[in-house]
């Protein structure tokens, strides 16, 4: 009975072995290359245009001619997914940039501002936190009306409070660290300590978080498109493809399953890249 529990010494071997052969990193890099190619030069990969209709071949299951099948107007789903990459990836990167910029500014104000600033920004973050991210996004969409820009802002602002809190924690941690104490003891100026020690050390993890949040943002944005509140269906954006496939779910499941798989793959890719970046940056610190 008791022998089934692993001895504590055996535990570190699994991550260590994985680190020696980062197969997941190679897979993620390869996937990134494919996604980047699809976003920048879709015509290299696509077999048809995004809107090329073929009414003789509607709702065809995946085959050699149509790798991902066709939709209700006979459009080739594979080509549509490829052509939609730029829009989806653009929304993800844009939203992640909005989110982290806001987070860096608010987090820095909360951690470094004077008492009043830090208290009021802290309160603002608590307020923003009272709204679950999706609801905050929905509120913005209701006010601004659906569009690509709204989608980027809605997802970016919706996810910002969580990251802002993280930034604040990082900066507060750096402020209390021995190297800052040493710099103060050496008589360095406040500005110099901030520029040379606190900001670089507390903002560096954001590089990894940026990669992580691209995948998250794409998932959020596609959820909104799926609800019919993002990009309207004829466009090949991935969330819109899901939304367009919904009425045909009983007869043509691939129209929703395949774009979903692609979104999950992209999210996994950016998550994996982010994780590796994170451990790489942490190693650099030591």
């Amino acid at each position: 009975m008791t022998a089934t529990a692993a001895p504590p010494a055996a535990r570190p071997t699994a991550p260590a072995r994985l680190r020696r052969q980062p197969w997941d990193l190679y897979a993620a890099l390869a996937a990134t290359a494919v996604f980047a190619l699809a976003a920048l030069w879709p015509d290299l990969l696509a077999t048809q245009g995004a809107f090329t209709m073929d009414l003789a071949n509607t709702l065809q299951p995946p085959s050699a001619a149509h790798w991902f099948g066709t939709d209700e107007a006979g459009r080739d789903l594979y080509s549509r997914v490829i052509h939609g990459t730029a829009a989806s990836l653009g929304i993800g990167i844009g939203a992640a940039a909005v989110s982290l910029t806001l987070a860096a500014v608010l987090g820095a104000l909360a951690a470094l501002g004077n008492r009043a600033t830090s208290a009021s920004v802290g309160w603002l973050l608590e307020v923003a936190f009272a709204f679950p991210a999706l609801l905050l996004s929905l509120l913005l969409i209701a006010v601004l009306g659906p569009s690509i820009l709204t989608l980027i802002l809605a997802v970016g602002i919706g996810t910002a409070p969580g990251y802002a809190r993280m930034v604040r924690g990082q900066i507060l941690g750096a402020k209390d660290s021995p190297y800052v104490e040493a710099a103060i003891a050496l008589g360095h100026s406040r500005g110099r300590i901030l520029r040379q020690h606190i900001l670089p050390n507390s903002l560096r993890p954001l590089v990894a978080v940026f990669a992580l949040s691209i995948g998250q943002s794409i998932v959020w944005a596609s959820s909104l498109s799926f609800l019919g509140l993002g990009i309207a269906p004829p466009a090949p954006e991935w969330g819109a493809l899901l939304d367009a496939g919904r009425p045909y779910i009983t007869v043509a499941g691939w129209l929703t399953v395949i774009p979903g798989v692609v979104i999950v793959l992209l999210a996994l890719t950016t998550t994996t890249l982010g994780r590796h970046l994170q451990s790489f940056l942490e190693k650099g610190e030591k």
Partner: protein, 338 residues
């Protein structure tokens, strides 16, 4: 919150700043401070929601009439007058704001632009279905998480890595996609469940699972770390020496210690699960406030949008306040911290 294990979970424990006394033996004062903080947060949320509504572009009365008629045309002053009177749009903004706040306190959320009914009645019609779904999902998530972590944590490197991998993957699954897969596999291919769920007992299983699986992964990530730490602790060793079975130790001793972070996260998770419910109700065509919210957002029916958003925010703040207070009551060490 010293008991949460990783830095990522730090983001999930709100409601501890404003007004909490720095140090004081009286637990009551701490609890009161947290309650004041929660009220301040809600006031901020209400204010933000009000000004979101007020910032809707265009003349409000025209917007309301057009939403109601489904048109986009200019309106005559005679048409607009009753609307302006009904929604009191000619009052100064500050009066409207105070009226709105007073309404929130007594549970009056205003009139829907589109349905011409009180928002509170619209919500009351649909709230039950969503609450049942959310609570069922939370229960499912806990069951899945406890079984999975108890079976896989601390079982050697391979099983462990596998368990952790599933936690991470499950936590990252988008709700809509998981919902579609479950629908395709269990409702359409196997025929075990109805395709259109309805509100019956069988119909709730797939939607609740859709919400529960990512949540179980999320809670599992937090629990697994604690679980493994507890497996190495002296009380486990002494229990083993007393001849207690491995399963008994895991369930009676280790699990108790390991679930604490997940309890904290559950307060946060309820809010996230309600967000997820919006999507899941759309996938399974279930009635609920999620459906109402999506319709209201696309028709810009602001009182309904704000009513639901405020309700969820209030619920969320309250849940976290209760978790915070429960923590202070359970763990005396926290009474001096924060």
């Amino acid at each position: 919150m010293t008991l949460t294990s990783s830095s990522e979970t730090d983001a999930a424990v709100p409601g501890r700043e404003a007004g909490a006394p720095r140090r004081g033996p009286a637990t009551l004062r701490l609890v009161a401070g947290k309650a004041v903080g929660a009220v301040l947060v809600l006031l901020g949320a209400a204010t933000a929601a009000f000004f979101a509504q007020a910032s809707l572009p265009g003349d409000r009365a025209t917007v309301i009439l057009n939403i109601r008629a489904g048109q986009a045309i200019a309106r005559t002053p005679e048409e607009l007058a009753p609307i302006n009177a009904e929604y009191r749009l000619h009052d100064p903004l500050i009066v409207q704001y105070l009226t709105y706040l007073k309404g929130l306190v007594v549970g009056d959320l205003g009139l829907s632009y589109q349905q011409h009914r009180p928002v509170i009645a619209i919500i009351a019609d649909q709230l039950g279905a969503t609450i049942v779904l959310t609570l069922t999902a939370l229960a499912f998530a806990w069951i899945i998480m406890v079984v999975w972590v108890t079976l896989t944590a601390g079982r050697g490197p391979v099983v462990n890595a596998l368990g952790g991998f599933f936690d991470t993957t499950a936590a990252g699954l988008p709700h809509y996609w998981l919902g579609i897969i479950l629908l395709l596999v269990f409702a359409l291919t196997l025929g075990w469940f109805p395709v259109i769920g309805g509100t019956g007992a069988v119909g709730i299983i797939l939607p609740a699972l859709t919400l529960a699986i990512p949540l179980a992964g999320f809670l599992g990530q937090a629990t697994r770390t604690e679980f493994e730490r507890s497996l190495d602790s002296p009380f486990v060793l002494s229990a083993r020496m007393r001849g207690m079975s491995d399963v008994g130790i895991r369930l009676r001793h280790v699990l108790r210690h390991a679930v604490l972070p997940a309890v904290t996260l559950s307060g946060w998770a309820l809010g996230a699960t309600i967000s997820g419910a919006v999507v899941v109700e759309a996938v399974f065509a279930r009635p609920g406030i999620g459906q109402v919210l999506v319709t209201a957002v696309s028709s810009q029916d602001m009182p309904v949008v704000i009513g639901i958003v405020m309700l969820v925010a209030a619920f969320y703040v309250l849940a976290n306040l209760l978790v915070d207070i429960a923590y202070v009551l359970i763990d005396p060490r926290l009474r001096r911290a924060s």
